[in-house]
C-alpha cells in the first residue's frame, strides 16, 4: 500500500514537470485542448506509468498521451485522472474489483526502467477487467527524446488488440500555415505528430504553398509552391530536405497524389488551356493525360488498389466527384447528393470517401460509404467552411480544416463523427491537413 501511494505522488510530480517543461513547445506549435472520450465508447483506464529508473524524471507523461490518442479515436472513453483511485504498476498490484466497480472494460499498466546509454525501457500490459486476463504485454526500448513517439506506438498496440484494427496514432500530418495578408503573407509547410505535437518546418516561402501529399513510405512530400512566380510541383525528402521540381508547365501545376505503390503521381496540369488530370511515371517523368474535357478536372486521388482515380470535376456545371480508370477512359459520376462536392479522400479499405460538401454558403465534411449501396452520406462536421478532409491510414479518423473567425484551424474527428478535437496554431492560419501513411515499426 505505501508503495502505491509513493507511485501516485511520483506520477503527479512527473505530470507537473511535463506541464512546465513542454510549455515553450505549446507556444510555438499547435495548442491541443484536452479531449474527453465518447460516452458510448469502450471504457478503459490508462494508469500513469511509474518511472523506476535512477535518472531525471521523464519529460513525457506516457499514459496521458495514450489516453489522448484513445479518446480522440472515438472508440474509447478513457477514465479521467481525477477518477483513478489506485496506481498499480505491475500485475501483482492490480485489483480487478476496483476497476470492475469503476465500470472499466480494460486497464493498461506500465513502468519505465533505465535502458542502455541513457535510453529507457517501457514495459506495459493490457488486461481485460471482466475476464481478468492479460491480453498483451510488451517491453519497448525508447530514447528519452522519443517518448511521445513510443507512447503513440503503445496506443497503437492497445487499439489494435481491442478493436482488431491497426492503430494509426504513431503517424504524422502535414499542413500549411500562413500569416499576414496580401503580398506580405508568409507561408510554411509543416509536419507534426498525428496529435499536433512536435511541429517542424518543411519549407517556408513568401509565395503560396499548398496541396501537400505523402509518399507511401512517409519519407517524401509532394507539394505545390509558387516560389518561381507561378505554380510548380516539388518533391522533397523529409530527412535530408533535398528536393526537385516534378512539374512546372505553363499554367496550373497542382494537386499531386502518389499512387499506392509510389511509382506514379497523379497531378493537375492546365497546359492545354484548362485543368486536366495526368499521371506521371516517377522513374521516367513521362506524363499521360487521363481526362480530356473543357471543364475543371482536378484533385485526383488513387483508390487503394491503384486501379482508379477519384477526382473533382465541374463538367456537369457544379463541382462533383467522378471516378476514372488510371488507364484512362470515360469517367463516371460518383457523388449523387449535394450541389457542391470536392476534394475527395479515401479510406484504406476503399469503402469510404470523404469530401467537402457545399450547400448554399455552408460547407461540411461528408462521408460516402460505398459498401452500403453508394448513397449513404454521414456528416462529420458542423460547418460553415469546412474543407480538405484527410483520412487516417486506418480509416478510423479524419483530419479537416475549418474557419473560425478570421483564421483557419484543424480538427480531428472520429470516422463516425462522434468525437471532434480542435488543433489550433497559436499564430496565423492553419489548413490543408494531410494524414501520413502508416510508419514502419
Amino acid at each position: 500500500m505505501p508503495k502505491t501511494i509513493s507511485v501516485n505522488m511520483r506520477a503527479w510530480f512527473v505530470s507537473l514537470l511535463l506541464l512546465l517543461g513542454s510549455m515553450p513547445v505549446f507556444a510555438q506549435g499547435l495548442v491541443v485542448p484536452p479531449v474527453s472520450g465518447s460516452p458510448t465508447a469502450r471504457p478503459i483506464t490508462i494508469v500513469p506509468f511509474a518511472y523506476e529508473g535512477a535518472g531525471l524524471p521523464l519529460e513525457t507523461d506516457i499514459a496521458a498521451v495514450v489516453t489522448g490518442d484513445l479518446n480522440r479515436s472515438g472508440q474509447f472513453n478513457a477514465l479521467g485522472r481525477d477518477n483513478i483511485i489506485e496506481y498499480p504498476v505491475r500485475a501483482s498490484e492490480l485489483r480487478f474489483d476496483t476497476w470492475r466497480m469503476l465500470k472499466q472494460d480494460y486497464i493498461v499498466i506500465g513502468r519505465v526502467l533505465d535502458g542502455t546509454e541513457g535510453s529507457v525501457r517501457i514495459e506495459f500490459e493490457l488486461y481485460d477487467v471482466g475476464t481478468r486476463k492479460r491480453l498483451f504485454g510488451l517491453a519497448l526500448p525508447a530514447r528519452r527524446a522519443d517518448l511521445r513517439a513510443a507512447s503513440h506506438q503503445i496506443a497503437d498496440y492497445v487499439y489494435e488488440k481491442i478493436t482488431g484494427i491497426r492503430g494509426a496514432f504513431w503517424t504524422r500530418m502535414a499542413y500549411v500555415t500562413s500569416t499576414g495578408l496580401g503580398k506580405n503573407t508568409q507561408y510554411a509547410l509543416m509536419v507534426a505528430d498525428s496529435d499536433g505535437y512536435n511541429p517542424q518546418v518543411v519549407v517556408r516561402s513568401g509565395e503560396p504553398l499548398l496541396s501537400p501529399a505523402w509518399s507511401p513510405d512517409s519519407k517524401k512530400l509532394a507539394y505545390v509552391s509558387f516560389e518561381r512566380g507561378s505554380s510548380s510541383i516539388y518533391l522533397q525528402e523529409l530527412t535530408t530536405g533535398s528536393r526537385q521540381i516534378l512539374a512546372s508547365y505553363r499554367g496550373i501545376n497542382g494537386a499531386p497524389a502518389f499512387s499506392p505503390d509510389g511509382t506514379r503521381i497523379a497531378l493537375t496540369l492546365s497546359q492545354t488551356g484548362n485543368p486536366e488530370i495526368y499521371i506521371m511515371d516517377l522513374a521516367t517523368r513521362r506524363t499521360t493525360q487521363i481526362t480530356k474535357h473543357y471543364s475543371i478536372d482536378t484533385e485526383a486521388i488513387w483508390t487503394p488498389d491503384g486501379q482508379n482515380l477519384i477526382f473533382t470535376s465541374d463538367r456537369a456545371g457544379k463541382p462533383q466527384l467522378y471516378q476514372v480508370s488510371a488507364a484512362g477512359g470515360e469517367p463516371t459520376r460518383l457523388s449523387s447528393k449535394g450541389e457542391y462536392n470536392a476534394r475527395p479522400t479515401i479510406s484504406g479499405d476503399g469503402k469510404k470517401i470523404a469530401m467537402a460538401q457545399g450547400a448554399g454558403n455552408v460547407y461540411r465534411i461528408a462521408v460516402l460509404d460505398r459498401s452500403r449501396g453508394g448513397a449513404d452520406y454521414t456528416m462529420l462536421s458542423p460547418g460553415n467552411l469546412d474543407e480538405s478532409p484527410s483520412f487516417a491510414p486506418n480509416g478510423s479518423m479524419v483530419l479537416y480544416a475549418a474557419r473560425e473567425g478570421q483564421r483557419g484551424v484543424l480538427y480531428a474527428v472520429s470516422a463516425d463523427g462522434r468525437v471532434r478535437q480542435r488543433l489550433v496554431l497559436a499564430d496565423g492560419d492553419v489548413r490543408e491537413p494531410a494524414w501520413s501513411p502508416f510508419r514502419q515499426r
Binding site: 496550373i252 467552411l385 474543407e387
Partner: protein, 173 residues
C-alpha cells in the same frame, strides 16, 4: 489590315456621296439605294489618338486594374466591359506591352478547384482583351486560386473583393 482598308474606302465613298448631295440641294428624288448605306455606319472612334505608356498612369480607365466576378462564375460582368475595352486598346496601341492576369477566387470550396476557377477567370479576361485588340502573346494568365486574398472576413463583401482578376503590366511598351 483588311478592316482598315475597307473602312477607308467606305469613308471615302460616304464623303463623295455627301458632297454630291450638297452640290445638288434641289434634287428631290431619293437617292438610289446605295449598298454603302446598307452597311451599319460605325461612328468614328471617339479617341482616335493612340494611348502612350504615360496613359497607364493618367487615363482614368487604364488606372483601373481589377475585374470582379460572381460566385463560381467567370463571365465578365457588364460593369467591367469598359475596363476590358481600354486595356485591350492599350495592348493594341502598344504592341510591346505585356501583362499578367492574376486570377483569384474566394475562400469557399476546395483550394485546387479554386485554382482552376482563378485560371478560368483569367482566361475570360484574356479573351475579352483579345476581342478588344490585344494579342495572346502579350498576355500571361497566372492563377493564385484562393491563396492570395485581399481580405479575410467570411462574408459576401469580402468574398466579392477576393473574386477577381488583377491586371499587372510587366512591360509598359
Amino acid at each position: 489590315m483588311m478592316n482598315k482598308t475597307m473602312r477607308v474606302i467606305l469613308m471615302g465613298v460616304l464623303a463623295v456621296s455627301m458632297a454630291a448631295c450638297k452640290s445638288k440641294p434641289e434634287k428631290v428624288d431619293p437617292p438610289a439605294p446605295d449598298p454603302v448605306r446598307e452597311q451599319p455606319v460605325t461612328p468614328p472612334v471617339v479617341n482616335d489618338g493612340k494611348y502612350t505608356a504615360d496613359s497607364l498612369n493618367s487615363d482614368s480607365c487604364l488606372r483601373q486594374r481589377v475585374v470582379y466576378f460572381d460566385f463560381d462564375q467567370a463571365d465578365i460582368k457588364s460593369e467591367a466591359a469598359e475596363i476590358v475595352a481600354c486595356h485591350g486598346k492599350y495592348l493594341k496601341d502598344l504592341p510591346g506591352a505585356k501583362m499578367t492576369l492574376e486570377g483569384h477566387a474566394d475562400e469557399r470550396g476546395s483550394r485546387e478547384y479554386n485554382m482552376g476557377l482563378g485560371e478560368r477567370r483569367g482566361n475570360a479576361v484574356s479573351s475579352a482583351l483579345q476581342a478588344n485588340g490585344g494579342s495572346s502573346a502579350q498576355i500571361t494568365v497566372n492563377s493564385y486560386g484562393e491563396e492570395r486574398p485581399t481580405c479575410s472576413e467570411s462574408d459576401e463583401t469580402c468574398w466579392g473583393k477576393n473574386r477577381r482578376v488583377e491586371i499587372v503590366y510587366t512591360q509598359a511598351q
